[in-house]
Amino acid sequence: MKNLSAIIEKALLFLFALSVVSTFAFWWTGLDERNALDQETERKFAEILNKNFKSGDLVFTENDWDLDFLKYLDSGILPVFLDLRNATEKSVAMMKSGDDRLFLLLKSDGSREKYVKKLNLKVLETFKAGKGEVVLAETLYKTVKKSLVFSRDIGKAERVAFSDGEKSEECRKVSEKKWQCSDEDWNYVGLTSAFFNGQQKQAVWAHPVSGKTLEITFALRGVSRKLYFNSGFAESAYRSKNRAPVGVEIAADGKTLLKYTNPFTSSTISKNAKIPENTKELTIKLTTSDDRQRHFVFNGFITDEL
């Protein structure tokens, strides 16, 4: 017992001496900074994007913590998503609104192969960027043709309003991506991004208010055959002890197409429904009994393919 104690004492002394050495070695020799992108790479990332980016393209960075390249970007280059590592073929494809291209900002050219394969991409062009690489690509993932994408087309909604059954309060369209419903920061319907079952996607922020129904109406043009709808809570909602669910109802020309309660759980809900022929109008109705931190988000689309 005494021997064991002496051995532990010596081991602890050794560890203490080692810890001093490791502290010196790590913090004084630049080891703590070793994985940062160098300035040339950052500038090149920005230069390539500034030259090649077209409105609607999406930018994904492999590194979500060294964002100094943002400092050199021109205005209008957005959005930039920081979750390439967890992205999947489907999640990336679902973020696209149409024929958008993808820019992948990679720390080295060594990871190109991995992402091209994982995300099922067709590489359009690659650019050397210092020690890193920028890949311009499009996804090969087959998706149906989308006639309406809620996140992309939120600005095209016919109407966004709160209704209490008797009177309604219209939300004000402040941009092509946002309807502001009051002076409160959270009280809007508009484009955001959120994690859907662990994957970041474009979505519509739609915070319901208790005692009222938030109604978002889209006019449907052409043939609309099927609705795909996903909903859940943004991660910022989980700071709350409020467990109130959000009631979701989707009506086609006033007739209920989908109706469910979205509970306050970590996972998101995915639904789909056939849309009756000649439907002119689709309304998404959201309600809650307690609106504290109901950071509700949804996305989805309408397709003319079954």
């Binding site: 790590f26 941009s175 920061d185 508009g190 700071r239």
Partner: protein, 553 residues
């Protein structure tokens, strides 16, 4: 553990110098650290307290003594932030009353942070005394220095919050209990109870202390104390209970109520509301190795791993050494009261971590919620290292004398670089075992906490913003809140004409505080402002923490 040393003349010099050094180091570097969200609430409460002190003067001069403690008056000044006891807020308010309102020599936020610096000095003093009395003079000198060179501790020591004061009270109460066990003097037991009343009036954490200490005592009673003369049977049991527990009931509780006037009225209801607030506390979402901890049960490993990765490695080794020292004492000691003292030290060190590790307990944020026992295990660990080092060099006295101070000095010097790097954002520090800030970010750990990190952005904001510009402060998420913004203006950190808004589409400038769960706000700002190019960025080792944006459309 036994009393080893007395307080001698030289200790006045050493303890005093240590406390003054820590006080100056904390107080003079205050302007480098932004105001966390909680400080906004407590500084506002401090203003109410200062108003109360003013009103006491007015009421006395009007001869209205009864009015001072009337329900109306008490509710007026004490109802705000009633989810926390008032002792620290009373001190922040007193400091504001004296140094800001009467003497006019510092701003209101500075006066609150002055109290924080005083508590840092008291903590240094407490560690010195603990080190001296139970271990050695070398330990007494080295321990406070090693304690305050932990970046998280250095950071929290600046804040006008309750976390460092409750650390002081938590560790001191355990030390005093140990002295109670050893001296049996009634006066020591009574002083401990008085001290404990102030601890309770600081933060609710310490309410666990009598419970865990009594359970520990009961264990030793069942297996040992009851065999002593006069301590068996029911009467013997009550006689055997250490006086400090009785005093906690008859001294601590009344004094606690005396310090908290709001509890004089509607007592049962208000106590219930207070208990309910903490019993049903919200969980703060934390990223932990890439997993957002949204709802319980939470991983048992969370506070252990966070302690492991957020403590600089020399101090981390001391933690292990300290726990080993207490455990060895527990099993080696012949006397029951010494065993109980060792168990009390282990409990004081580890119970706060165990508590947060419990899967159903919400995660309240960073390490500040379980660091209350760090001084105990650190100090014992420093002594353990000192003893081992002395044993290693057996022959040469001169070398033996030099070896230990050189070893601790080397540890302190090695910490200068990380301490400087994280001086402005100690809450974001991770050690080399996870790869520092970069490694933690790569592992997707929570990057920072409490929306304070904007000192690096303030200069650009002040120089670029036109008069009366509106600044989005991300208050609905983990950004600044309106109070902390207001106090940053009062402290001269943000220009006084700049207005805070929580509505992005009316803002001219926007602050963005990075947390993984708030990543979407980066693109919300970009969509609204027409650019994702920041005007200024705050980072360490290229890890992005917060940024300032300017509207371009």
């Amino acid at each position: 553990m036994n009393f080893k040393n007395h307080f001698e003349k030289i200790d006045f010099l050493l303890a005093g110098a240590t406390a003054v050094f820590i006080f100056l180091m904390i107080f003079l570097t205050g302007s480098a650290i932004g105001f966390v969200r909680d400080e906004g609430f407590y500084m506002k409460a401090a203003g109410n307290m200062a108003d109360w002190y003013e009103s006491i003067g007015t009421n006395i001069s009007n001869g209205e003594f009864a009015k001072i403690f009337s329900k109306k008056e008490i509710d007026r000044y004490f109802n705000y932030n009633s989810e926390h006891p008032p002792f620290m807020k009373e001190l922040f308010g007193l400091s504001q009353f004296i140094f800001t309102r009467k003497l006019g020599i510092m701003s209101a936020p500075e006066s609150a942070r002055l109290v924080a610096a005083v508590f840092a000095a008291l903590t240094a003093l407490m560690i010195y005394l603990f080190g001296l009395i139970f271990f050695s003079r070398t330990t007494a000198v080295a321990s406070p220095l090693l304690f305050f060179t932990m970046p998280h501790i250095f950071f929290h020591s600046h804040l006008a919050c309750f976390d460092m004061p409750i650390l002081f009270f938590w560790s001191s109460t355990f030390i005093l209990y140990m002295i109670c066990l050893k001296t049996k003097k009634t006066s020591v037991h009574a002083v401990t109870a008085v001290f404990f009343a102030f601890a309770m009036a600081t933060k609710h954490n310490v309410l666990f202390i009598p419970i865990v200490l009594f359970v520990s005592w009961l264990f030793f009673y069942i297996f040992s104390y009851r065999k002593e003369a006069d301590k068996s049977g029911l009467a013997g049991f009550f006689r055997a209970i250490p006086k400090v527990f009785w005093f906690m009931a008859v001294i601590s509780l009344p004094l606690y109520f005396l310090i908290w006037p709001r509890m004089w009225f509607n007592t049962a209801d208000r106590l219930m509301t207070y208990a309910e607030f903490h019993g049903k506390h919200v969980n703060y979402l934390n990223y932990y190795f890439g997993t957002p901890l949204k709802n319980g049960p939470f991983p048992f490993s969370f506070p252990w791993a966070m302690t492991f990765f957020t403590t600089p490695t020399p101090q981390l080794v001391c933690f292990f050494a300290g726990i080993f020292y207490f455990c060895r004492d527990l099993f080696k000691s012949g006397k029951t009261c010494e065993k109980e003292a060792s168990l009390a030290m282990i409990t004081g060190s580890l119970f706060p971590i165990f508590l947060i590790a419990w899967p159903s307990i919400p995660i309240f944020g960073g390490i500040k919620h379980w660091f209350t026992g760090y001084p105990l295990m650190l100090t014992a660990g420093v002594f353990m290292i000192e003893e081992s080092a002395k044993k290693l060099i057996k022959t040469d006295n001169c070398r033996k004398k030099l070896f230990v101070p050189v070893l601790f000095a080397a540890a302190l010097v090695s910490l200068i670089q990380p301490d400087i790097k994280f001086a402005k954002r100690g809450a974001a520090f991770y050690n080399e075992l996870i790869g520092g800030a970069q490694g933690a970010a790569e592992a997707r750990m929570q990057r920072n906490f409490w929306g304070y990190d904007m000192i690096d952005l303030a200069g650009t904001l002040n120089s670029e913003a036109p008069k009366n510009a509106k600044l989005y402060i991300m208050s609905s998420y983990e950004g600044l809140n309106q109070n902390s913004f207001r106090f940053m203006q009062a402290a001269g950190i943000i220009r006084s004409d700049i207005r805070a808004t929580n509505t992005l589409n009316e803002a001219d400038f926007a602050l963005f505080f990075y947390e993984k769960q708030n990543e979407f706000i980066l693109n919300s700002i970009a969509y609204e402002f027409g650019t994702i190019r920041p005007l200024a960025v705050s980072s360490t080792d290229s890890v992005f923490y917060s940024a300032l944006f300017r509207r371009e459309k």
